[in-house]
Subunit: 168 residues, 2 copies
DNA sequence: TTGGAATGTCAACAAGGCTGACGTATTCTG
DNA sequence: CAGAATACGTCAGCCTTGTTGACATTCCAA
């Protein structure tokens, strides 16, 4: 349907051919596998999965966040998140306190053990990311980020932007 | 965008700070969600999941491929893939023939209905990709691909490279 | 020709999504 | 103040998709 075998007038659009887009798709698929591979190994050793990683990551990012807040960021149901939080709290990696202002809320923090796990996960992931960044160079990295940001859903881009410059 | 108020030796490496790497991590997380969102909706309507998408995609890419071959590309166990293939075959989207040369092998093809599904999935995914590519521009896309390729595991990069230029 | 390797199938289990229903505490609002 | 709305937890049950284990068939090499 959108086969691009056009004249030169569109030569500057060559990166938009179906073939180029398909390559991008497959690159995303294979790269995401690499992206999660290292943390997955660490998690498997401790009987956790990717869901635990995501929870730990975002609690670390936003200490004191509420359950509801986390729900929006992670995009899962509360039943699903609750299962994960329950094990993390039981294992002493996450603490949950009733809110001061609003007592319906629970504020989540990593314990020392939780911070330690987060560190080992993010170190593993960062190492791979750093290697990839170094290999590709600063300009490629800028392009990488631009395309990824353009690929997000509206809502997610807002979540992302809100977190983006938090610790600068 | 890059404020160069630093000495050169530092400025060159600014994209390798932990903060930059963390942003890249989160960009991957949110972008991958967007990346899969559109096909996921189509699949859900038909009672399929992402595993079906992957199988259909790579059978389309490499018609006549064997189960074992697909296993290597997808990186799952044969039992897991088999369940998905079984439903796709039962639903008449994929055909499986015993190999001529080696009768242990099964060669996989998409039926017309399978091709139709593949089209609707890849059209949806390409649309988002195209929009993102357009918004980011050709140079950003080149960087995007470079970083993704550098992020893959060795083995996966080989799989990816092998597929990469197949239809050019 | 026979034993091992390769290919693929079936069965059963676990993680982690989902929906729906319900209970409890707390806060907001008319 | 009463009732609606919000935040959270939990139970039950479903689905997809990953896992291991057991097994049949086929091929190949000693």
């Amino acid at each position: 349907m959108t086969q691009n075998t056009q004249p030169k007038s569109v030569a500057n659009q060559l990166f938009l051919t179906d073939e180029q887009l398909r390559k991008g798709t497959e690159a995303m698929f294979f790269a995401y596998r690499g992206f999660t591979a290292d943390p997955d190994r660490i998690l498997a050793d401790r009987g956790y999965g990717r869901a635990h990683h995501r929870a730990v990551h975002f609690i670390h990012r936003s200490p004191g966040t509420t359950v509801n807040n986390l729900l929006n960021i992670l995009g899962v149901t509360k039943q699903s998140l609750n299962r994960v939080l329950r094990t993390l709290i039981a294992d002493g990696l996450v603490s949950s306190h009733v809110g001061q202002k609003d007592k319906r809320e629970r504020h989540l923090h990593l314990t020392d053990a939780g911070v330690a796990l987060e560190q080992s996960l993010s170190n593993a992931q960062r190492d791979r990311m750093r290697t990839a960044y170094k290999a590709a160079g600063a300009e490629a990295v800028a392009g990488f980020r631009q395309v990824l940001e353009a690929m997000m859903d509206e809502d997610m881009r807002h979540q992302y932007e809100a977190l983006k410059d938090k610790n600068e």
